[in-house]
C-alpha cells in the first residue's frame, strides 16, 4: 500500500542501522513518546538494529494506560445506570477498575457499545432519544478534535441526550514533567508524530530550547523510527539540541488549523491526574463553559471511588523510562494482559503489554540484568 510499504523497506532499515552505528560513539538514552512507536519498535525488533550503546526508553504516550482508575470506576458506575448506553473505543473495555472492567459490566447487563468513531456514538444518541448516551472521550491531542466534533455536532443538531466522560491528556506537559524529575534519564525524544499532525511542532521547539534536549518529530513506521533515532544521535553526538520534523509527509509546523479551532471552541485546558504518574497541572482538556451541559460527570452524580494500585506495580517508573517491564517482579506472572495489575499492561499499546506480546522478557545487551 502506498506510503506504508516504502517506510517498511528492510534494505533501507539496514542502511539506516549502519549509519546510526557509524556515528554512535557514546551511550545515549532516547525516549519515544508514543505507545504506537513503542509497538513498532518491538514488533520489528528495531532495538536489534541499534548499537548496544543506544537505549530506547518507552514513554507515557498511551492514553488508555494513563487514564486514572478513578475515572474507570466512574465509567463503570455510569454504564450501570439504568437508561444509559455507554460507548467507548474498544481498548478501554478491558481496563480494570475497582470492581471489574466495562466488559464485565456489559456481561452483567449494562448496555455498552464499542464504537470506531465518536460520531458513531452521536448517531447512537440520535437513534435512541429515550436513553442517555455517554461517550468515553479518552485520548491525546490526536483524538481530542474527533471527540470535540461529536459534541460540536450534538449542539448544532440539538441532540440533548449525548454526554462525554472526558479524559483528554496532552503531551508537552508530561514531557516537561519527565524532564523536570530529578531522576530523569532521557537525553533526547522521538516526538509524537500524529499529535504534531494536529498541533504542529512549535511547542516542541520551546521544550527543546528550555531543557536543551533534542526532539525529533517522528512517524510510526520502522523507517520513521530509525530516521528519528539517527537524527537524535546526530544531535547528541555533536552537542546540539533543537526540535526538527522528520515526519514532513504528515506534519507541518503549525499543524491542522481546522482541528485546533474546534478543539478550542469546545475544550479548555485543565489539570489532569495521570495513572502511574499522578497529577500534572494543565495537562489535559475539559469541556468549557459553553459545552458544560454535555459533561457526563455533571449529568451523572456517581461517586468517585479511589483505588490503590497493586503494591507490586512499578508502572510509574516505566512510564518515566526509569525501568523496563522485566524489572517488575509481577511481569508475566501475577500481571498479564488477561489480568493486568497496572497502567502499562492494560492497553495493547502499554509498554508492559507490548513487551509481553513480543516475548521480550529479558534484555540481551551485556551488563543488563537478565531475569529469565
Amino acid at each position: 500500500m502506498k506510503y506504508l510499504d516504502e517506510f517498511r523497506d528492510l534494505k533501507l532499515a539496514q542502511n539506516l542501522s549502519s549509519r546510526i552505528k557509524r556515528i554512535t560513539s557514546k551511550p545515549w538514552k532516547i525516549m519515544e513518546v508514543c505507545g504506537g512507536q513503542t509497538h513498532t519498535i518491538l514488533q520489528y525488533g528495531l532495538e536489534d538494529l541499534l548499537p548496544a550503546q543506544i537505549e530506547l526508553l518507552h514513554g507515557p504516550g498511551c492514553p488508555v494506560c494513563v487514564t486514572p482508575m478513578e475515572l474507570i470506576n466512574k465509567a463503570i458506575a455510569i454504564a450501570r445506570t439504568p437508561g444509559t448506553i455507554f460507548c467507548s473505543f474498544g481498548d478501554m473495555l478491558r481496563v480494570p477498575g475497582d470492581k471489574g472492567d466495562l466488559l464485565q459490566a456489559k456481561a452483567q447487563g449494562a448496555e455498552i457499545r464499542t464504537v470506531y468513531s465518536p460520531l458513531d456514538a452521536l448517531n447512537i444518541a440520535r437513534n435512541n432519544p429515550d436513553k442517555r448516551v455517554v461517550f468515553f472521550a479518552v485520548g491525546f491531542e490526536t483524538t481530542a478534535p474527533a471527540n470535540a466534533m461529536a459534541v460540536h455536532q450534538a449542539k448544532k443538531l440539538n441532540i440533548r441526550n449525548f454526554f462525554l466522560l472526558c479524559s483528554h491528556v496532552t503531551v508537552p506537559p508530561v514531557m516537561a514533567a519527565i524532564l523536570d524529575s530529578s531522576e530523569n534519564q532521557v537525553q533526547a525524544f522521538l516526538g509524537p508524530g500524529h499529535v504534531c499532525s494536529v498541533m504542529g511542532w512549535k511547542e516542541y521547539e520551546e521544550i527543546s530550547k528550555h531543557y536543551n534536549v533534542p526532539i525529533v518529530i517522528s512517524g510510526f513506521e520502522p523507517i520513521d523510527i530509525l530516521t528519528g533515532v539517527l537524527h537524535c544521535v546526530k544531535q547528541l553526538e555533536s552537542g546540539k539540541a533543537f526540535a526538527e520534523n522528520r515526519y514532513a509527509r504528515a506534519v507541518s509546523v503549525s499543524g491542522n488549523k481546522s482541528a485546533q479551532n474546534i478543539l478550542h471552541e469546545v475544550f479548555e485546558e485543565g489539570d489532569r491526574l495521570w495513572r502511574g504518574l499522578g497529577a500534572i497541572p494543565k495537562s489535559g482538556y475539559k469541556l468549557n463553559e459553553n459545552y458544560k451541559e454535555y459533561d457526563a460527570e455533571k449529568e451523572f452524580l456517581v461517586e468517585a471511588v479511589n483505588t490503590q494500585e497493586s503494591s507490586l506495580c512499578i508502572s510509574g517508573e516505566i512510564l518515566k523510562g526509569l525501568k523496563k517491564p522485566w524489572q517488575c517482579s509481577a511481569f508475566g506472572k501475577e500481571c498479564t494482559p488477561e489480568n493486568p495489575l497496572g497502567a502499562t499492561m492494560v492497553s495493547s499499546e502499554g509498554t508492559c503489554a507490548t513487551y509481553y506480546k513480543f516475548g521480550k522478557t529479558q534484555v540481551k545487551q551485556e551488563g543488563d540484568l537478565s531475569l529469565v
Partner: protein
C-alpha cells in the same frame, strides 16, 4: 491508540453538514470525516484516526523523504565499500 492509517479518498458526500468520505485502506473501505482536511479531494491520501482524517499526506514530501533516505543509503554503501577496500589494502 494514536494509530492513524493512510488511506485513499474515493468519494465525498455531505452528511449533516459534515464532509464525509469513503476511504480505501488497502482494500478495506471505511467512512471518514474530512472536516479537518477541507482541501482533501478524491485521489488524495489522508491519514485517518478514529474516523477522522487528521492530515492529507504530502506526496511530494513522502517521495522526497524516501528518496533522500534511499540515496544517502546508497552513499553509505559506497562509503562502506571504500572503507572495505582500504582495509583490504593494508
Amino acid at each position: 491508540m494514536c494509530l492513524a492509517i493512510p488511506g485513499l479518498v474515493e468519494s465525498i458526500v455531505i452528511v449533516d453538514d459534515l464532509k464525509m468520505a469513503k476511504v480505501n485502506f488497502g482494500g478495506i473501505r471505511r467512512t471518514a470525516c474530512l472536516e479537518y482536511t477541507p482541501d482533501a479531494s478524491a485521489g488524495d491520501y489522508v491519514l485517518v484516526h478514529v474516523g477522522f482524517a487528521i492530515s492529507v499526506i504530502d506526496e511530494k514530501e513522502a517521495k522526497e523523504t524516501y528518496e533522500i533516505l534511499a540515496a544517502s543509503g546508497e552513499m553509505d554503501e559506497f562509503i562502506n565499500d571504500v572503507d572495505a577496500a582500504k582495509v583490504g589494502e593494508k
